[in-house]
């Protein structure tokens, strides 16, 4: 626990303390993303797929998705980036992952509160937030990210080729996870295919918390849970059995 806390502070100093503006960039980056998407889609569509606010629609999709994506991206390099610290006998490979997990979860949560808070406060019609689905979606997404990262930290070390393949597969995830569209609106045979992606369910559940009128057809949280915890389980198994490999330089 002591080591995790020390690593967390160190990561924070290294990540946010090294450039001017520091923590502000962590906020500005997703805010700019949502802003750009709003501009682009406002030009081509009259109304968002849900509700009346473009910014709210994209922000809920993007940030819900970020609970997975930012987590997985940041954690994938955890052991490699902290390799030299493993020369301290008291630092274990898993400590670096746990430290980054908490830092990223906190960062995305702050981003969500600030960005979505600003958007909600600016809306003309007040919306009724429902916290349980929001928190549930965030936790399932970040668990999935953690599980993937545990697997990837080992696999990237073992197979350099896999790292390339993973980045190719992972990139379009943003496009197919229901960030800009609603899976509900997709016609029959394709909708089922889209719903295989557990992140679609996470994004839907995240939106349920913001749109009380959203029916979320096809939402299956038990499926997302199963997928996330299975991934976490496999990740933990792989990570523990590869501890010698992770230690070796």
């Amino acid at each position: 626990m002591r080591v995790v806390a020390a690593l967390l502070i160190r990561e924070m100093e290294a990540r946010f303390g090294s450039k001017p503006g520091g923590y502000v960039w962590a906020l500005l980056d997703p805010a700019a993303h949502v802003f750009l998407m709003t501009i682009i889609f406002q030009a081509i569509a009259r109304a968002p797929a849900l509700g009346v606010s473009f910014p709210l629609f994209f922000a809920t999709g993007y940030i819900g998705f970020q609970f997975y994506q930012a987590m997985a991206t940041y954690l994938n390099g955890a052991v490699k980036a902290n390799r030299s610290l493993l020369s301290y006998p008291s630092v274990a490979p898993v400590d670096t992952i746990v430290a980054r997990y908490f830092l990223q979860l906190g960062t995305t949560a702050v981003v969500a509160i600030v960005v979505l808070g600003v958007i909600v406060a600016w809306m003309r019609t007040p919306i009724e937030l429902s916290w349980p689905p929001i928190i549930e979606a965030a936790l399932v997404a970040s668990t999935l990210g953690l599980g993937m990262a545990l697997i990837n930290n080992v696999m990237f070390l073992k197979y350099a080729l896999y790292e390339q393949v993973f980045s190719i597969v992972n990139r379009p995830l943003f496009l197919i996870s229901g960030v800009f569209f609603l899976p509900d609106a997709i016609p029959h045979p394709y909708r089922e295919v889209v719903l295989f992606n557990p992140l679609v369910h996470v994004v839907m559940q995240f939106r349920v918390g913001f749109y009380s009128e959203y029916r979320a057809v096809g939402l299956d949280m038990p499926y997302a849970y199963t997928f996330a915890f299975l991934t976490l389980f496999i990740g933990m198994l792989l990570f523990t059995s590869s501890s010698a490999l992770l230690r070796s330089e």
Partner: protein, 219 residues
């Protein structure tokens, strides 16, 4: 006390698998400083890292009682964008020692002046080495691991290092790898000779040095 039980470690490179340590059992008692002797590539540094726990055995086990240091003067962990002070603070935290005390100690010992609060990336190699040595001396360990003691700094600093290190060895032991028999003689009471994956323990360092020299003459 450090005890190796049937410890085995292989070196693997491109399909070649060669035992560096082959089912070695050994007890290193507390209160005695140990020198590790062996030819180039015998696995001395590997053994040191196995003892530290930063790499794992392939089979067998190591039982450690007491606090074991990282390799003396290790600088690889310094983050260039962070200041010397921040780097020291990190180590204080992972070892659970008083942060302020350690910072004060290292600041005084390394004698970096205002650079102590500047990013480590701006340091000269000598300054980095001074910071690293100060940090190693600032935390109290039961065992100090030394892989080829490298003298750093000018004559005054060297003298200071030696004095502090020797005072540390009043209550701590050292496990040292060195090719210099005179250094080993200065610091160690007993010795371990590594040859062909076998570890042989000698209660008297002179016997160890003699055995090692014998090995060297053979081949």
């Amino acid at each position: 006390m450090i005890r190796l039980e049937q410890a085995t470690k292989f070196a693997r490179t491109k399909g070649i698998k060669k035992p560096i340590i082959d089912r070695a059992s050994l007890v290193l008692q507390r209160g005695k400083s140990i020198g590790l002797l062996g030819r180039n590539g015998a696995g001395k540094s590997t053994l040191l890292r196995l003892i530290a726990g930063t790499i794992r055995l392939d089979s067998g086990r190591i039982i450690r009682k007491g606090k074991i240091s990282w390799p003396l003067g290790f600088q690889g962990s310094f983050q260039g964008t962070m200041t010397g002070e921040q780097n020291v603070r990190f180590v204080a935290r992972i070892y659970g020692v008083d942060t302020r005390e350690l910072i004060a100690y290292v600041e005084d010992f390394a004698d970096l002046g205002p650079f102590f609060k500047a990013p480590v990336g701006t340091y000269s190699s000598g300054m980095k080495a001074r910071l690293a040595f100060g940090l190693s001396m600032g935390v109290n360990f039961d065992y100090y691991l030394v892989d080829e003691i490298t003298a750093v700094g000018d004559t005054n600093f060297k003298k200071k290092c030696q004095v502090v290190f020797e005072s540390r060895l009043q209550d701590s032991d050292v496990i040292m790898v060195s090719h210099s028999t005179s250094t080993i003689r200065d610091y160690c009471d007993c010795g371990v000779v590594m040859e062909n994956g076998k570890l042989t323990y000698y209660d008297d360092i002179e016997d160890a040095i003699r055995a090692h020299n014998g090995n060297m003459r053979e081949r």
